[in-house]
Amino acid sequence: MTLKNSLKTAITGLRVNKMRSALTMLGIIIGVASIIAVLSIGRGAQNLILDQVSGLGAKTIIIRPGREPKGPSDFSQLLSDSLKERDVKALEKKSNVPGIADLTPVLTTAESVNSQGETYGATILGASDLLSKILEIWPKKGRFFNNEEIKQRASLAVIGSEVKNELFGNSEALGKKIKIKSRNFKVIGVLPQKGQLSMFNIDDTVIIPYTTCQKYLLNINYYHLILVQAKSEEAVPEVEKDIKLTLRELHKIENTSKDDFRILTQTEIAQRVKTVTGILTWLLMVVAAISLVVGGIGVMNIMLVSVTERTREIGLRKAVGATNKDILMQFLLESVILTLFGGIGGIIFGVLLSFGATFSLSKIVSLGWNFTFPITGALLGLGVSACIGLVFGLYPASQASKKSPIEALRYE
């Protein structure tokens, strides 16, 4: 029998039982659709996070206290207090790290901010005036605090656009008092709308001098992180190396595995994001793969039923000249066509699903979450579904081909 005839026969066989064929396909459709959706949404999420990370700028380096957590029990290290004033002083010395353009210590905390009866839960950032240079945020009204005011631990605040709207609405904010932890701060600057910048959402932030934050809000003598700007992107590796050497010398660390600080560059953050979303994607893929296997078992089940039901047909075909191979091909093709069409349906369904998810998510979180057509996923889904048809169709097909023509013809 020619392949063309085998195909025709197989398609006819499937069309005779439309409902059953469709239901059998459903298992494969769902499996492939979930693979597509997982791949596509995963990729979208990754791109979204990477976009935000790159908002920080390629020249920026973050120094965090504590050593790299080695496991879940290691989290206490995250709260380490190893970065203090002397570290900032040492890093500021050109002889130690010549490649640094600017740096600022940073403290973060969440507090409610009050003004004239209005309250807003804001992120408080304690930093130096250089933060505005590093993050490239300039007040649209007013100014940033200066070095002198930092030394004096002045109670001054620069507020984000969202904080301004919530507390003052359309009225003037400059010169007004806001209250954070029962301490009055004078608003000296309002920032333009900026959105998410790396880990900070600038719009709902109140920026105050780090000295003030340390003493009056947190009552600590260390920093949460140090933000460093290198002179150029090319200088980043060199700066990273110099920072490590400086801090190790200062902290008297001889063994690098005992480092009490961590350095994050944009490349490293991107790498981490990719690793995390990659692991998540793989986990979800495994779940999707399991559903595909279940779908495959469904195909095998239905093919076995079909073979039993068509015992007479098999006998007749053999009587009029079909070889075992012809029968094997017929039933194998039926299951492969079934799963292949299931795969195509799954791709269409999965693309629609992920497109819908991307669209509604970007509406809900109002972020530029872009839909990417998962070509790899589509090809993978198609290949996998065809393979499933082959693997799970082989047993029923071989059962069919082994039937003896007289037994088959006698079957009632």
């Binding site: 029998m1 005779v16 007479r312 075909r317 053999k318 009029v320 000249g321 070889t323 012809d326 013809l409």
Partner: protein
């Protein structure tokens, strides 16, 4: 030369360790162009004989030569090819594919040949015309009467112009009038040169043949020439 030659043919079925002999040494030969009826009560082994002669089953013992070749020399693929090109089968319960029209049913054996699609179409139409059901060509089996269904089955059997037609109780599921029409078709097919082996338990139906092999307990009890063959006039079924 004999078309079919069997010597001491034996067939034993093994069912759960129990041996059931169906044929206990059968010998005869059939020449090309003969119309032979095999009769006998149920359990006499006539169906087993037909299955072996039709290459649907292999004998347990003995020799079967078809066209000079013994069945032992042929592989399963050779058997399938022979069934396809040289044999035609007609069954009691028609065995047409449901939900498949007359033309496609008749074409079925051709799907397993190497003939071109155009030739297949021509041959199928010719066979359908020969049994007089051209007007039903795109009907489904469920839309046909029993007699018409059996005629479709005959068209399917003769579509490749086989050397021999095996008919297993072809009138068993038909009323006497339709049955008679079917037997007429067989006689006319025989007249134009087809060898026919008919299995039936009705003596009346066997009378259409030229020779009757009576079977009993897995053996041939009687091999007679029919002297008063029930003849039918040529009435245009076969062209």
């Amino acid at each position: 030369m004999a078309l079919i030659e069997v010597k001491n043919l034996e067939k034993i079925y093994f069912d759960g360790g129990v041996e059931t002999p169906a044929l206990r040494g059968v010998s005869f030969s059939i020449s090309e162009g003969e119309f032979v009826a095999v009769t006998g009560p149920s359990g006499s082994g006539k169906s087993s004989l037909l299955h072996i002669l039709g290459f649907l089953d292999r004998p347990t013992k003995g020799e079967y030569r078809f066209g000079g070749k013994t069945i032992d020399e042929l592989s399963d693929i050779d058997l399938a090819k022979t069934r396809n090109k040289k044999f035609g089968f007609v069954f009691q319960n028609f065995n047409l594919l449901p939900r498949t029209n007359v033309l496609e049913n008749v074409k079925l054996p051709l799907l397993y040949s190497e003939l071109k699609e155009k030739v297949q179409e021509e041959l199928a139409k010719k066979a359908i015309e020969a049994v007089g059901i051209s007007h039903r060509i795109s009907h489904l089996p469920s839309q046909l009467s029993g007699g018409e269904r059996q005629r479709v089955a005959i068209a399917r059997a003769i579509v490749q112009n086989p050397k021999i037609i095996f008919a297993d109780e072809p009138t068993g599921n038909l009323d006497s009038k339709s049955g008679e029409k079917i037997m007429k078709i067989f006689q006319e097919l025989n007249k134009i040169g087809h060898t026919i082996l008919l299995v039936t338990h009705e003596t009346y139906t066997a009378q259409y043949a030229q020779r009757i092999l009576k079977m009993k307990d897995g053996k041939i009890a009687n091999d007679v020439k029919v002297t008063n063959q029930r003849l039918v006039e040529k009435d245009g079924f076969i062209k």
